[in-house]
């Protein structure tokens, strides 16, 4: 991305504290250790001579340091057709819809209900059209497929309906192979898939300091195939992590460093993303607010640590705890997207999501797309086109007493301005009234229907569609 004079940024930690957090996280791994259930990981650790007490494995600091040296600092993602799409690295910022919601906010009935396959098909088709949401995700868990197909089937639907790279994950160890087969349907060979990653697999350690059997296996399977894994470490400040934000950031660092070790011991150079979904505990409701400012602050600290350790970064931001796409949803998603942008989070999962990561909404997704457009504009900063900046143009003002028709206006307005879509109301009051005095939600809903009626921008090749379907049919 081309940046102007300065890239607008935010920082919550200084070098001294990043160092302290890193050192303490290594000490935690060395002295407290991590809980490990997975047999393959245990074998990897035994081979390295890592000591353990029962399921608690004590990872020496020098091994952590060694593993960090071989993690790639950048991951390129490719689309379904194998075309380079986005790069996770430096301060690049990309968004994907929040993953794995169990409920769907039905924009037609206004009801929050269990999701069905058709909802996810429509969802994927809308994502394809949303310019600022550059990756898709397996965003909905639907109930009308067999339970054992609930993870991989989403990848099948996602790839069939949208060309963008996918953030996904497994719910059962057995599913990884099926999901890899689906990905291979879009590539020429295993090697081709390794060189051109199409999907990221979420690997979620359990706080505090535990790598479960399922998530460890996913991390290992992905590393073997050089498929990127994204750590979704989720310390819950005040419940399963220290109350202090810095304490939670330190715990997150330790959990992710353990992931780095597992990944790099599996395969040197395996692509890994430093990510998370931390939260504070709401001390009245006992809930895990994703829209809380402190949750966002932990995320910012986590991401700074990832950058400090030169890894691609991820965070769950731009989501809301509101149950419907209302004002709270707007400001929480807006603040999250803005902060994530300013922090340079490489992959931001969250758009569309409501109710503590449990509900997905197309209405909110379409609104979030607009606010992300604005965030991306902010990140481009202020451009210097050469001086004088204004004097010559102001001389021309005398001619016509306006600058709207000035050549510089025509030349620059599309570059300088984020041209808001129909979801953002900037009409005069009369035009707003004349066009039905619609609310943001109504406009978003109409936009979603309009996008759905447009059909695919990049329809899937018949052969690839058939191969994907063959894989799906084989396992249903």
């Amino acid at each position: 991305m081309k940046v102007g004079i300065l890239r607008p940024k935010i920082q919550v930690l200084d070098e001294e504290h990043k160092n302290k957090i890193y050192i303490e996280a290594k000490e935690i791994l060395e002295n407290l250790g991590i809980f490990l259930e997975n047999e393959n990981a245990k074998e990897l650790f035994h081979n390295e001579g890592i000591s353990h007490e029962g399921l608690r494995y004590f990872i020496p600091s020098d091994l952590v340091e060694k593993c960090l040296k071989t993690v790639p600092s950048e991951i390129k993602l490719y689309d379904r057709e194998g075309k380079e799409h986005i790069t996770l690295g430096e301060d690049n910022v990309h968004f994907d819809p929040g993953s794995a919601a169990i409920l769907y906010f039905d924009e037609t009935s206004g009801e929050i209900r269990n999701a069905i396959k058709e909802d996810f098909i429509r969802f994927s088709k809308v994502v394809e059209h949303l310019q600022y949401i550059e990756a898709q995700s397996t965003a909905l868990i639907y109930q009308d497929v067999p339970k054992e197909a609930q993870d991989w089937h989403r990848l099948f639907i996602a790839l069939t309906n949208c060309y963008k790279p996918v953030v996904t994950g497994t719910f059962r160890k057995e599913s990884f192979t099926i999901m890899k087969d689906l990905l291979l349907s879009c590539r020429r060979s295993e090697d081709d898939l390794a060189r051109k990653p199409l999907a990221i697999f979420d690997a979620c350690p359990s706080p505090p300091l535990k790598w479960s059997d399922l998530t460890t296996q996913s991390l290992i399977d992905a590393a073997v195939s050089m498929i990127p894994s994204e750590f979704v470490s989720m310390p819950l400040a005040g419940a399963s992590a220290p109350m202090s934000l810095i304490g939670s950031i330190t715990q997150h660092c330790a959990e992710c460093l353990a992931g780095v070790v597992i990944g790099q011991l599996t395969k040197t150079g395996a692509p890994l993303i430093w990510g998370g979904s931390p939260a504070i505990l709401d001390m009245k409701q006992g809930t895990t607010p994703m829209g809380a400012i402190e949750t966002m602050m932990i995320n910012l600290g986590d991401v700074e640590m990832g950058k400090f350790l030169k890894m691609p970064t991820h965070a769950y931001m731009s989501l809301s705890d509101s149950k419907v796409p209302d004002t709270q949803a707007g400001f929480e998603a807006g603040m999250g997207a803005l902060l994530a942008g300013l922090a340079g989070v490489n992959m931001v999962s969250g758009p569309g999501m409501l109710d503590f990561e449990s509900t997905q909404s197309i209405e909110k997704l379409v609104i979030d797309n607009e606010l992300i457009g604005m965030v991306k504009r902010l990140l481009q900063g202020i451009e210097d086109y050469g001086s004088p900046f204004a004097a010559n143009i102001l001389k021309d003002y005398e001619d016509k007493e306006e600058l709207l028709s000035h050549p510089s206006t025509l030349k620059l307005f599309r570059k300088e301005l984020f041209l808001a879509g129909p979801v953002i109301d900037r009409q005069s009051r009369d035009m707003w009234k004349a066009s039905g005095a619609k609310s943001t939600r109504k406009r978003a809903k109409e936009e979603a229907f309009k996008l759905l009626s447009k059909g695919s921008l990049r329809p899937i090749d018949d052969r690839v569609a058939k191969e994907l379907e063959d894989v799906a049919l084989k396992h249903l």
């Binding site: 016509k400 306006e402 028709s405 025509l410 307005f413 599309r414 009409q427 005069s428 009369d430 004349a434």
Partner: protein, 222 residues
């Protein structure tokens, strides 16, 4: 290219003109205007089916959200410059395509001129003869110019709630002089509403330049 009576070739030529306007290609639009004269084409048709079609398409693109104000303005300006070449030729042959005469201004005390300028440009691009008096213009001067130019329409813009009362003053002066029925009065600007239009006893209001063109055409039955 020889045109003669070949309808297909003519249609192709009109399309080229229309495309030049939509592509905001000033050089091409002017070159085609000159060629139309050299080729001795029916200039009324050239204007209506070529340039007029282009400017209508620009209006549609703006309404669809694909074009923005700078493009609307530039399209209007290119149209005007092409007309400057075609209209003297038309007059020479005794034709007149003036759809009507409009005197337009931003009212006294108000220096916001940009909306009014866009409306003026678009009206002019659509075949109206427009006298744009600028901003901060006293009501008396607007009315006097309208009488002098034998205008069909007076357009008054106000961007402030404090100056919009000047719009009503135009109608009051016309009433006093007993010439209200000789002019259609249209008003515009951010604070203007339907109920204000009724209160002023103006003939209509529009909230965009594209709407303003439609409104004037409707009022003059064009």
């Amino acid at each position: 290219m020889f045109f003669g009576d070949n309808k297909l070739v003519q249609e192709q030529f009109y399309k080229e003109i229309s495309d030049a306007i939509v592509n905001l290609d000033k050089e091409r639009a002017i070159e085609l205007a000159k060629r139309a004269i050299i080729e001795n084409m029916n200039l009324l048709e050239v204007i209506e089916k070529g340039y007029g079609d282009g400017i209508r398409r620009i209006g549609d693109l703006w309404e669809e959200g694909d074009f923005f104000l700078p493009e609307l303005m530039l399209g209007g300006t290119i149209m005007q410059e092409s007309m400057d070449i075609l209209l003297p030729e038309l007059k020479r042959s005794g034709e007149n395509i003036n759809l009507g005469t409009v005197v337009i201004a931003t009212i006294e005390g108000d220096i916001h001129s940009i909306g009014k300028t866009i409306v003026g440009t678009m009206l002019s691009a659509n075949g109206f003869e427009v006298y744009d008096l600028g901003a901060d213009v006293p009501a008396e001067k607007i009315v006097n110019t309208a009488i002098e130019k034998n205008a069909d329409v007076i357009g008054v813009s106000a961007l402030l709630t404090t100056t919009m009362f000047g719009q009503k003053k135009i109608v009051d002066i016309l009433e006093e002089k007993g010439i209200r029925s000789k002019f259609k009065v249209i008003i515009g600007g951010a604070p203007v509403t339907k109920s204000w239009t009724e209160e002023c006893q103006a003939d209509g209001f529009a909230s965009s330049a594209v709407e303003a063109v439609k409104l004037v055409k409707k009022l003059l039955n064009k």
